[in-house]
């Protein structure tokens, strides 16, 4: 079960796509880190993720984990955003058998599910193909 505090801590990333850019070498981290793994700098500036990218790899989940059972089958992919950051997210509003590596996608804010019968509604980013 996702407690409210654990959910709330990630809101800047899930609702606003906030990332951290290393002030020294420029590498972008999502979620933000405390130290850059490239140049070891501890100074970052806040930035926002690029909202378009392309599918680097993907799968269609047929057997879903607890909490996602009603959604299956659904697609999940690793998206390479136009700023170079890679993230894992669902790909939705698409025909599952037409998905392909290299396809262009756009980030959208969506509901991801709910925690049990009376738990919090979970929101975050998903991707949809762009023509």
């Amino acid at each position: 079960m996702l407690g409210p505090a654990r959910y709330w801590r990630e809101v800047p990333q899930r609702y606003r796509y906030e990332a951290a850019k290393c002030a020294k070498c420029g590498k972008v981290f999502f979620p933000p880190r405390l130290v850059c793994n490239k140049c070891h700098s501890k100074e970052f500036t806040q930035t926002t993720l690029a909202q378009t990218g392309s599918i680097e790899t993907f799968t269609v989940i047929r057997v879903a984990p607890t909490g996602f059972g009603d959604e299956a089958p659904y697609a999940v992919g690793i998206i390479k955003l136009d700023d170079g950051v890679r993230i894992t997210a669902q790909i939705t509003d698409c025909e599952l058998d037409k998905l392909d590596i290299g396809q262009k996608v756009r980030l959208e804010f969506r509901r991801l599910g709910k925690e049990g019968e009376s738990g919090i509604l979970r929101y975050g980013y998903k991707f949809v193909p762009v023509a």
């Binding site: 979620p31 047929r62 057997v63 984990p65 607890t66 590596i101």
Partner: protein
């Protein structure tokens, strides 16, 4: 550092063992290893276990299992590195003996997975990935490996059938292992037609949910010689980490952690991949075995699939992989897997592997990994 030997092994017949508790599962394997080694005491014990908390609601295994062993208040240490917990337990025991801190150390692994339903088991296992940035989005472990498979297929032309050949081969080997969970033959066609789990992987591409334990006894080589019992020498021990999240890796179709650990281990042992007689590797999914054999340098990147299809990795092939049946057929009680791999190498290198015996082997390797390869343990062993 002292040279270290493995002198005794133990393991249950793995499976869905409703009648056995975690503590009894573990104690069976531990007592068998102690008896097999012919020792009358154990100085310390390590246990690899990924998630007894989520699977059976029990933590504090170091104390609980040392208590069950009945050999007094010895140091009992639980270690965790997801599915590589067993390999890590072995390494910690190895370091304890090699450093001279302890003389006789019992390295063990255990996982009791069938007390919870499939959804809860999938959830427990998914905790090895990045919960907030992978699991939150509904990805599963089969899903993560499926994404690696698709990237591998795209980069190298690896085929669905090549993946299936890995499962068929490991089931052929498991048929010869009386302790394997699924002693049944499967064909590549059967694997390809199996119920889809996460495209392109079907249920027969996946290792199963298993209850099981395994244990081995380590002592200094000098002591093993004095005891006059069959033993194998630990020639190298290597451990690496990689990014927790798959999406943070430079390449999605290779295992940098395995390649790095292999390079360290080969250097320590003073051998190269061509010297290996066989290897036990972490085939949690069919694609994993292909990527691991490439990471170990047994095949070039992209050649692991064709090699599996051509029978190069079969028993009797040029480099037999997973003679025990691997995780696929033998079963995958996650914390126990890394220790069971060492047991197989012991049996092979001491000529006790019966119907699945590799001919006159000298060097054996184990590769055990956690998550999507974020933790890797590699050990190399030499015949005494």
């Amino acid at each position: 550092m002292r040279d270290v030997a493995v002198i005794g092994v133990g393991m249950n017949h793995w499976g869905e063992l409703w009648e056995k508790s975690l503590r009894n599962l573990w104690t069976e394997a531990a007592l068998e290893a102690v008896e097999h080694a012919g020792v009358d005491r154990v100085d310390a014990m390590t246990v690899g276990c990924m998630s007894s908390g989520l699977f059976v609601g029990q933590e504090h295994l170091g104390a609980m299992l040392a208590d069950q062993l009945g050999m007094g208040p010895i140091p009992g240490t639980r270690v965790e590195s997801a599915c590589a917990s067993g390999g890590l337990a072995f390494r910690q025991a190895y370091l304890a003996v090699a450093s001279g801190v302890s003389d006789i150390v019992l390295a063990t692994g255990v996982e009791k997975m069938t007390d919870v339903d499939g959804g809860a088991a999938t959830y427990a296992l998914s905790a090895a990935a990045d919960q907030e940035y992978e699991g939150y989005h509904g990805i599963t472990f089969p899903g993560l490996y499926a994404m690696m498979a698709r990237a591998h297929m795209k980069a190298f032309g690896t085929t669905r059938r090549q993946l299936a050949c890995v499962a068929a081969k490991n089931h052929d080997n498991g048929l010869l292992n009386p302790l394997a969970q699924y002693q049944m033959k499967v064909t590549p066609e059967g694997v390809m037609a199996s119920v889809p789990v996460a495209d392109p992987l079907g249920v027969l591409d996946c290792s199963p949910i298993t209850d099981g334990a395994a244990a081995v006894v380590l002592v200094p080589v000098e002591l093993a010689k004095k005891m006059g019992r069959p033993y194998i020498r630990v020639a190298a021990s290597a451990q690496t980490t990689d990014t927790l999240a798959l999406h943070d890796r430079e390449e999605l179709h290779s295992l940098a952690g395995t390649a790095k650990a292999a390079a360290m281990a080969y250097k320590e042992a003073g051998i190269g991949p061509k010297d290996l007689s066989f290897a036990e590797v972490h085939d949690c999914f069919t694609i994993a075995e292909i990527m691991v054999t490439e990471g170990l340098g047994l095949f070039e990147k992209g050649k692991g699939g064709p090699a599996a299809e051509a029978g190069v990795t079969a028993l009797g092939g040029k480099i037999p992989i997973n003679t025990s049946g691997g995780l696929k057929s033998k079963g995958h009680p996650v914390g126990a897997t890394g220790i069971a791999q060492v047991r197989e190498v012991f049996l092979q290198l001491t000529g006790q592997a019966d119907k699945r015996q590799v001919k006159n082997p000298r060097w054996g390797l184990t590769q055990n990994m956690g998550g999507t390869g974020a933790s890797t343990l590699i050990h190399i062993f030499e015949r005494a």
